[in-house]
């Protein structure tokens, strides 16, 4: 069993904290991980990605080969499409529907969402809206992780453990907010993950 995940977003959107939570959950389950991060110049508002590989077996490459990713988890809709060559034929796109527009030539959002919807296996989720609804607007990242959790070969309980470990220092309220966000994302996915 393995899950190869491309994490995508814009510098500053915090994809590294999603990666840290997945990494913690995978370690809890004694799975091997490799996670290639982006540091440096591109973190300044540019496109960023992280390759996250989880497996029962030893993992050779830090980078996912083209056509091998099981999941693209993107906190920004256009960024999910930038890494499509990594996705395998049955892979899932889980993308936030709220665009992050910091460039003058951002394409028509309808066209972007249309492209994602064309894809057989996709979840488009307004994570920002859901995070606000549950009273935890800062947890939209974890809503995204919750939405992606059914497609990652790690038991859901391990994600809960991961959140407790990562956010524990910030107090019970932050932990509970993030757990609520994780559940909200997951239940959205379960309702919407019917294959086209």
């Amino acid at each position: 069993m393995k899950t190869d995940i491309v994490l995508a977003g814009v510098g500053g959107q915090g994809i590294l904290s999603i990666a840290a939570t997945i990494g913690m959950a995978a370690t809890k389950d004694n799975l091997n991980i490799k996670q290639a991060e982006v540091h440096g110049m591109s973190q300044r508002g540019g496109a960023v990605l992280s390759h996250m590989r989880i497996s029962e077996k030893e993992i050779a490459s830090d980078l996912i080969p083209e056509g091998y990713a099981d999941l693209i988890l993107s906190v920004e809709p256009m960024e999910s499409l930038r890494y499509l060559p990594f996705l395998n034929a049955n892979g899932w796109i889980v993308a936030n529907s709220t665009p992050y527009i910091n460039i003058p030539d951002y394409p028509d959002i309808k066209r972007i969402l249309g492209e994602i919807e064309q894809h057989a296996n996709h979840i488009l989720i307004d994570a920002d809206h859901i995070a606000k609804e549950i009273g935890s607007p800062k947890s939209s990242n974890i809503v995204m992780l919750g939405a992606a959790s059914p497609f990652i070969n790690i038991p859901f309980e391990s994600f809960l453990e991961g959140i407790k470990l990562i956010f524990g220092k910030k107090g019970d309220k932050v932990v509970n907010d993030n757990i609520a966000a994780l559940h909200a994302g997951k239940s959205f996915s379960e309702k919407h993950s019917v294959k086209n």
Partner: protein, 536 residues
Amino acid sequence: MQKLPLLGAEAIAQGAIDGGMSGIYAYPGTPSTEITEYVQINKTAKERKIHSRWSTNEKTAMEAALGMSYAGKRAMVCMKHVGLNVAADAFMNSAITGVNGGLLVTVADDPSMHSSQNEQDSRYYGKFAMIPTLEPSNQQEAYEMAYHGFELSEKYQTPVLIRITTRLAHSRAAVGRHDVKNENKLVLPQDPKQFILLPSIARGRYKNLLGNQANFLLSSEESVYNQYFEGKDKSMGIIACGISYNYLKENFRDEDIAYPVLKIGQYPIPKSKIEKIANECNKLLILEEGYPLIEEMIKGYLANGIKVNGRLDGTLPRDGELNPTIVAKSLGLSGTKTFDIPDFLANRPPMLCQGCGHADTYNALNIALNNYGKGRVFSDIGCYTLGALPPFETIDSCVDMGASITMAKGAADAGLIPAVAFIGDSTFTHSGITGLIDAVKEKSHVTIIIADNFTTAMTGGQESSATGKIEDICQGIGVEPEHIRIFVPLKKNMDEMVRIFKEEMAYEGVSVVIPRRECIQTLAKRKKEAKKKILN
């Protein structure tokens, strides 16, 4: 001991701490920064008071590490690849002096130039200096090479180069640890003249280095990092260096690799193993992350030996980093790509943060430059290099640390008057001061903008050696006090900023203008930490 999930850079730091290091010296630079940052917050390092404060540049770092080695203790210096150019004088000569305490020079290369001006391959520096070079393929090896590297260095009394690349430096995996070793005791070199490179002594030291080459080769032949894997299919032999070995393995996953494979992690390259693979195979494929160092050596200028495929004949791209997909193609394996990138996507290049002081400064400078025309702003290495991109398009050069001031001076000498230099506070103390001395000495008509945000921002906000000292440094060098001007780069101060720029550009001598406002990233971090303190 429990395994730790570490970046390659962090694994090197942990290996060095566990290996008995007494000090680490560095100037921040992607992708090497995390090595020193890890030591700065590590518990054992704190308890042992391992030196970890930032140096002013890579040369001062290299020399301080050599000084610690002179005193018998184990030291590491680390930098990005282009930093080794700055430290090269000290580095090359450290190979001649040799070491007393173990000395590891860790250099992080950046193929594909994710955050750099070039993609030079530091293994050439190892060969140039004729010292052993280690190149880990994964995080565990990165740990081992730092941990055991000190012994290698002390055994042969030589500095040892550890070369990593961006992908390994910034990729995380679980790393197992060894017992923590004691630090060395303070002890002077046995030979009191070892470090005196007077010609008469240096000649002897150089002969000593040449004599050591056979030992370095022997060590490489016996190295656990240079492994030969037998293969049945002798139609091709594969030599894979560093991280490229992982990309090779990835392409075979659960199967054994049919071809003989020589994995290389220690240099000079192991001659007998190279001979073996060349003798038993019909041709060679060489996988190297970086320049074709081994490929050139084996192929030779006349290329009249065994057939060699690699970066030179187009089997692999000549530039850029490798990845599993590129390596698959070089093996003749078919691609597995299913989907393409839609053609309507827009690029999203990095940009200055919302509210950054550099943005206000560039807006003002663009207005002030209207009288003179474009093509006269020489910039430097830092966040402000993004001033080359829209909407600013203010700067006309970015070459190396400190080049803004000296290039402006040279252009002014040629008659491009006024010439403007744009440099950050940390880059100024790194390599700008000497250039300013040249300009002052000749009263060059240059306007030097030292954008002071109190930090080394691009690499994540490390301490800047310039903080609180810039005016004193400039005055001490001889810049006239009335031509050292300071303002706060904010939109509301636009008129003042433009006026100061105009006045100083009109002055026929050296002016220094200091836009001064804290980096908004470090400001946010500071506020957050202050809030946390109050809550606690």
